[in-house]
Symmetry: C2
Subunit: 213 residues, 2 copies
């Protein structure tokens, strides 16, 4: 029995929302230590439940990690949406479309920098195109990061900035650039560079995408 004041020991035999509690605990561990820190037994401990109870809701540790990863992708979507909200449209369709794609990138990088553990966890699980738009990976706005990038690109086509024949699969190019920068910043050679330097590199990378798409 845990006498944790924040997590009162339950009185009922049933937990109520053990699945959700395990995911929440997993997210908390992922926040501090990345995907490797998501430990099944520790999650059950935090939920005040015996280790094997987890197996009523997840086939194995990988399944739990997958659910945690999806949740993290939703958080990424939220952060991207926040960046979009910070750059409201001005009325100039072309400039707005450009700025929206930029905002998606800025939100993505911001998420990587603010929550490196969650960022790593979000992308620690193999994924494929079919599942990239699964609602489980969506944020509060109901969209996944992948769909947010796609939306920004559609707007660029609608505004005439990108010719339609370049639209196809452009998600992958934009995403690759931004995702790569995110990795380099939290785990790669850019780690520990001062903030201004990273801001500058982010700007230049987004310039490159803007020019090169």
């Amino acid at each position: 029995m845990s006498d944790d004041p924040e997590n009162p020991g339950r009185t009922t035999y049933r937990h109520g929302d053990l699945r959700g509690a395990l995911i929440a605990a997993g997210v908390e561990m992922a926040r501090e230590g990345g995907p490797r820190a998501v430990v099944l037994r520790e999650a059950t401990r935090r939920a005040g439940v015996s280790p094997n109870a987890a197996y009523r809701h997840f086939a194995d540790r990988a399944a739990l990690l997958h659910a945690v990863s999806d949740t993290c992708l939703g958080f990424a979507a939220d952060r991207i949406q926040q960046a979009l909200d910070e750059h409201p449209p001005t009325g100039d369709a072309e400039a707005d479309a450009r700025m929206a794609l930029r905002a998606v990138g800025l939100g993505y990088i911001a998420f990587a920098r603010e929550e490196p553990g969650l960022f790593r966890t979000a992308f620690s699980v193999p994924d494929d195109l079919r599942q990239a738009m699964s609602p489980a990976k969506a944020g509060r706005n109901g969209l996944t990061p992948f769909q947010l990038v796609g939306g920004a690109l559609d707007a660029l086509v609608a505004a005439g900035v990108i010719p339609p024949e370049r639209r196809e699969n452009a998600e992958f190019l934009a995403w690759a650039a931004v995702h790569g920068l995110g990795m380099l910043v939290i785990d790669g050679p850019l780690r520990g560079l001062d903030d201004r330097m990273i801001d500058y590199s982010t700007d230049r990378l987004l310039d490159m995408v803007d020019r090169g798409l």
Copy 2:
């Protein structure tokens, strides 16, 4: 230095090159299962040695993984060099410089696709700028992947393709794009796409870098 690779039971008390054998075993495990599959005890088992012997050569599992990761980066450098060799200079300095940067990207992506486990392992260990050029991460040509990208960019500046003021930190932009694509291909939404599709995306990404740098 590297004889008797398949010696089940050694006769001498000393192993001879246990450190190297452990790294080699680690690389083999990484090849099949990525960084998570690099397990210390299994490495000692494959080296025909007791578990604790590893601690005479590595402080802990993280240290072994780090050494394996460095080795993998060297393999990446080798694959990039191979791609460079496959596109020999034609005499046109400008076209050659462009092609060299392209070849670096192609080699990088080829490595990710051919050896996903080693690729993941190479970048599973936190790193910073100071260590990006450590000789431990170099390939047979003595250069690290980071240095190979840098060289290609220097050639682009020398050929007048890139203005010098855009040279600084351009490594990060080119690297981010290619690295991101590599991750998307082996772990992300592009996983399982057919080869032609990936080739096409790679081409378009390198176009973007070429245009956008």
